[in-house]
C-alpha cells in the first residue's frame, strides 16, 4: 500500500530513465543519506564510527568496484586487493613527495593510477575468459604485493616496510576526530556510489552487461569488446584504488602491503557473491555481512567469556557460526542478499492484498 508505483506516470524519457524511477525510492535514498550524514555522527560512539561504520563504508566502495567488473561486465577478478594497494601506495607517495597536494586530490589521482594499472592487467581479458582470467588477475595480486615489498622507493625507504599515513589536512582543517573521518568517508563513498548507480543505467553500463551476457552477440550489435572491457577494468580499479587509499589513510593509519594480501581479495569477492552480483545495493549488503558479522559475533562471544565457557572455544565459535551463516544464505538465496530485498519489494507492492 505504501510502496506502490501505480499512478506514477512517466511522461518523458527523462523521467523514465531516472536513477531512481520510483518516487518512494527517491524519498528512501534521501532519508537514508540524511540519516547517515546527520544523525549517525551525532548518536554514535567513537567505537561505532571508528571500527564499524568507516570500515564498512570503505569495503562497500571496494565491493562496488569489483561488482562493476565482475557483476556488471562479467570479468572475474582476484586482484582487487592488489588494486587497492596501488591506490594506497600511490596516495602515500603523492602526499609525501608533492607536499602542496590536497589529500582529496591525491586520492583521486591515486584512483587514476590504480585505473592505469588495472588497464594493463585487463589487457589479457580480450583473449582470456572466465576462470583463466581469474588466474591472470591473481598474478596481478601477487605481483603488486611483491613489488611494494621488494622496491623500497615505494615505502620511502622505511626500515620496516610499514609506513604511517600522514595527517589528513585539507582546506586548513585536520580530519582527526572520528566524526570528521566518518563524514569524509561517507561523502566520498556516497558520491562514488551514486556515480556507479548512474553509470550502470547508461550506455556504458548496458554495454558492460551485453558483454557479460554474451560477448559475441554484443560485438555483432556494435559494442567494441576491448574498449568496453578495458573501461570496466579501469573504472573498477579506480574504485578499488580510492578504497585502498581510504583504508590506509582513514581507517588503519598505516600503509603496508600485507594489509592487501590475497585474503583481502577473496573477502571482497565473497562480499559481492553474498551481497548480489550486478547490484550496487548488494555491494553494501555484502560488505555489511562480511565486515560486521564477525565483529558482532566476536562481541557476542566476549559476553560469554566470564561464564565458564573456555575462551578458546568461544573464540573459534566466531569462525564456525560465520561459516555456517555463509552456507545458509547461499542455500536460501543463491542470488545474494540484494535479491532478498527485491523479493521484499515485490511483496510490498502487493501488500496488503497478495494473490
Amino acid at each position: 500500500m505504501l510502496y506502490r508505483e501505480a499512478g506514477q506516470f512517466k511522461s518523458s524519457y527523462r523521467s523514465d530513465q531516472a536513477i531512481f524511477p520510483i518516487f518512494q525510492d527517491r524519498i528512501g535514498v534521501i532519508i537514508i543519506l540524511l540519516f547517515a550524514f546527520l544523525v549517525i555522527p551525532m548518536i554514535s560512539s567513537e567505537y561505532m564510527l571508528r571500527s564499524i561504520f568507516i570500515p564498512f563504508l570503505i569495503f562497500s566502495l571496494a565491493a562496488i568496484g569489483l561488482n562493476i567488473l565482475t557483476g556488471y561486465a562479467g570479468q572475474l577478478s582476484l586482484g582487487t586487493a592488489g588494486f587497492m594497494a596501488v591506490g594506497a601506495f600511490a596516495a602515500y607517495n603523492l602526499v609525501i613527495r608533492l607536499e602542496w597536494m590536497n589529500f582529496i586530490v591525491a586520492f583521486a589521482v591515486a584512483g587514476v593510477v590504480a585505473a592505469a594499472v588495472g588497464i594493463v592487467f585487463g589487457l589479457p581479458s580480450l583473449r582470456i575468459k572466465g576462470f583463466y582470467l581469474a588466474v591472470v588477475t591473481l598474478a596481478a595480486q601477487f605481483f603488486i604485493e611483491w613489488l611494494f615489498t621488494a622496491v623500497p622507493w615505494f615505502t620511502n625507504y622505511s626500515s620496516s616496510g610499514v609506513i604511517s599515513a600522514p595527517p589528513l589536512i585539507a582546506f586548513g582543517y585536520e580530519f582527526e576526530s572520528a566524526q570528521s573521518r566518518y563524514v569524509l568517508t561517507l561523502a566520498i563513498v556516497a558520491v562514488l556510489a551514486l556515480l556507479a548507480k548512474n553509470m550502470v543505467r547508461t550506455t556504458t553500463g548496458r554495454a558492460w552487461m551485453a558483454i557479460r551476457d554474451m560477448d559475441i552477440a554484443a560485438e555483432i550489435i556494435g559494442i567494441r569488446p576491448l574498449w568496453t572491457k578495458l573501461q570496466a577494468f579501469a573504472i573498477s580499479s579506480f574504485y578499488c584504488g580510492v578504497a585502498g587509499a581510504l583504508w590506509a589513510f582513514v581507517y588503519l593509519g598505516t600503509v603496508e602491503p600485507q594489509a592487501f594480501d590475497i585474503n583481502r581479495s577473496f573477502e571482497i569477492l565473497f562480499m559481492i557473491i553474498i551481497g548480489g552480483l550486478g547490484s550496487i545495493l548488494g555491494s553494501f549488503l555484502g560488505a555489511a555481512f562480511i565486515v560486521l558479522l564477525p565483529i558482532a559475533l566476536n562481541n557476542a562471544a566476549s559476553l560469554f567469556t566470564g561464564s565458564g565457557l573456555p575462551a578458546d572455544i568461544v573464540t573459534n565459535f566466531e569462525l564456525i557460526i560465520f561459516g555456517l551463516l555463509i552456507i545458509f544464505f547461499l542455500i536460501v538465496e543463491p542470488h545474494g542478499l540484494a535479491r532478498l530485498w527485491q523479493i521484499g519489494k515485490e511483496k510490498l507492492r502487493l501488500w496488503p492484498f497478495p494473490y
Partner: protein, 443 residues
C-alpha cells in the same frame, strides 16, 4: 512475505543489531587491563600460551596479593586474529572500559602495533611492545606512549652478532664470513635490515637476505640456494609461526648444520622445535628471558592459579618459552602500575599515569629477586630518554627435547644502535611535525 523471509530477516537483524553495542560493566576501584590476543589464525599456537601466561600472572597477583597494593586487576580479552584492522577494532572497543580506561595495550605484533600507535598517543594510553614493535620508538622523546621494552630488535641483532663472534673465537674472525639472513617477508622480518648492514660494514662480513613469503610453508628453493650455492658460515633466522619449523626441517633436509642457525626470539619456542622433531636438535635461538619453571614466580602461578584449576591455558604449557614470556609481560606491565601507584596513589590509574610508571621502571637484581624472577627477567632500567632499557640477551639451544640456556646475559652494542635509533626518530618527528620532549627537564 512468507515465513522463510521473515525468519531470514529476523536472524539477520538480531545477529547484527544486538551484540554490537553490548558492553561489559566493571566495578569501581579496579584496574582495567585489556588483553588483545590471537586464538585463531596462522599464529594461534603462539598467541594462546603467550597471553595465557600474561593472564595467569594477573590472576596470581589477584589471588596471592589481592591485586596490586589492594587494587584488583580486571581484564577483558579481544581476539585480533593477528590482523591490524581487527586490532584497531579491539583497541576502540577496550580503550574506555573500566573505571579509568585501559591501562596499556600489548598488541602482540609489529603490524598491529603500527596500526594503533597514533590513536593511542592521542588517547594517552601506553602501547607496550616487549621484544617486538617499532624499534626507533626506543627514543621516548618522540614516542611518549610507545615502549619497546627490555630489548628491541636492533639491540638483539647486535647481541646475536656478538654471540656468533664468540663462537668464531673473536669478533676479528668475522671478517670474510658469510651470513645468510632468512626473513619473514613482512614488516617484522625487515625491521633489522639497517642494523645488520651497518654491522656487516663494521666487522667485514657478508650478508645476503633470503625473504620467505607469508606464511612460509614453501622454503625448498630458499634452502637449496643457501646450502648448495651461497654456502654461508651462519644463518640468522628471522621467522614467525609455521615458517620456523619449516626452516628447521628444510635445513635438515639439505644438510645445513642446525647449530649454525641462530633464530630470533620469535623463532625459538617449543612451537617451532617440537613439530620439527629430531631435525631441531642443536638449533640455537636468542631469548630475553629464561626457560623452565624453576623460578619462585612461576611456582606461585602454579600454586595459586594452575593448581586451583583457574588457569587460562593447559598446565603443560607452564614453563614453555611462550608461557614464560607471557609471565614476563605480566611482571613488567604490572610493575609499571605499581611504580605509577607510588606517585599517584593506590587506586585505579589512567593510561597517562601508568605511562609515568613505564618510564621509571628499574629492574635491579634486588628488585627482580623480590619479584621471584631471578634468571627469568634481565636487569634493565627505563627513562624518558630510553624506552627500551637496554637489557642483555641470552642464547638457548634445543637439546634432547628442551630449551637449555647456553650463554649468560650478553650485552648489546648500544654505541651502534642508539645513534641509529635517534636518527630514525628524528626523521619520523620531522615527517610528522612532532616536537620532541626535552628529557632533561622531565622527571
Amino acid at each position: 512475505m512468507n515465513v522463510k523471509q521473515l525468519a531470514l530477516g529476523a536472524v539477520a537483524a538480531a545477529v547484527l543489531a544486538s551484540p554490537l553495542t553490548a558492553e561489559k560493566v566493571f566495578a569501581a576501584g579496579e584496574q582495567f587491563v585489556p588483553v588483545t590476543l590471537y586464538r585463531t589464525g596462522p599464529y594461534a599456537n603462539t598467541g594462546e600460551p603467550l597471553m595465557g601466561g600474561y593472564m595467569d600472572y594477573m590472576r596470581m597477583i589477584n589471588a596471592r596479593d589481592g591485586g596490586v597494593n589492594g587494587v584488583k586487576l580486571v581484564y577483558e580479552e579481544c581476539e585480533t586474529g593477528y590482523k591490524p584492522d581487527r586490532m584497531v577494532e579491539c583497541y576502540q572497543r577496550l580503550k574506555n572500559q573500566g573505571e579509568t580506561g585501559a591501562g596499556m595495550f600489548n598488541p602482540l605484533g609489529t603490524g598491529l602495533t603500527y596500526a594503533v600507535i597514533e590513536d593511542a598517543t592521542k588517547d594517552k594510553i601506553p602501547v607496550i611492545t616487549i621484544g617486538y614493535g617499532r624499534t626507533d620508538a626506543t627514543d621516548g622523546s618522540v614516542w611518549k606512549y610507545v615502549f619497546p621494552l627490555i630489548t628491541n630488535y636492533w639491540s638483539q641483532n647486535t647481541a646475536k652478532i656478538k654471540f656468533i663472534g664468540q663462537r668464531e673465537g673473536g669478533m676479528e674472525n668475522l671478517k670474510g664470513k658469510k651470513i645468510a639472513y632468512v626473513i619473514h617477508d613482512s614488516a617484522y622480518g625487515k625491521e633489522t635490515q639497517p642494523v645488520i648492514a651497518e654491522q656487516a660494514k663494521k666487522y667485514g662480513f657478508e650478508v645476503k637476505t633470503f625473504p620467505v613469503a607469508h606464511p612460509g610453508l614453501d622454503q625448498k628453493a630458499v634452502w637449496l640456494q643457501i646450502a648448495r650455492q651461497y654456502k654461508p658460515d651462519w644463518v640468522i633466522l628471522r621467522g614467525w609461526g609455521v615458517m620456523n619449523q619449516t626452516s628447521i626441517k628444510e635445513a635438515a633436509r639439505v644438510g645445513f648444520p642446525r647449530d649454525k642457525i641462530v633464530g630470533v626470539w620469535w623463532s625459538g619456542s617449543e612451537q617451532d622445535t617440537v613439530p620439527a622433531g629430531a631435525a631441531a636438535e642443536g638449533y640455537i635461538s636468542a631469548n630475553f628471558h629464561g626457560p623452565g619453571t624453576d623460578y619462585p614466580v612461576i611456582q606461585d602461578v602454579l600454586k595459586y592459579v594452575q593448581d586451583a584449576g583457574k588457569g587460562t591455558v593447559d598446565k603443560s604449557e607452564v614453563g614453555t618459552i611462550m608461557y614464560n614470556r607471557g609471565v614476563v609481560y605480566g611482571i613488567v606491565n604490572i610493575e609499571a602500575i605499581r611504580v605509577a601507584q607510588g606517585k599517584f596513589g593506590n587506586k585505579p590509574l589512567t593510561g597517562e599515569q601508568i605511562q609515568w610508571g613505564f618510564e621509571h621502571l628499574d629492574f635491579t637484581p634486588e628488585r627482580i629477586a623480590e619479584l621471584g624472577a631471578t634468571g627469568l627477567v634481565p636487569p634493565f632500567k627505563t627513562s624518558c630518554f630510553d624506552h627500551e632499557g637496554q637489557a642483555p640477551v641470552k642464547f638457548q639451544q634445543w637439546q634432547d627435547g628442551k630449551w637449555v640456556a647456553i650463554t649468560d646475559w650478553i650485552e648489546t652494542d648500544q654505541a651502534m644502535v642508539r645513534p641509529m635509533v635517534e636518527a630514525s626518530a628524528k626523521k619520523y618527528a620531522a615527517e610528522k611535525g612532532i616536537t620532541p620532549r626535552n628529557c632533561a627537564t622531565e622527571n
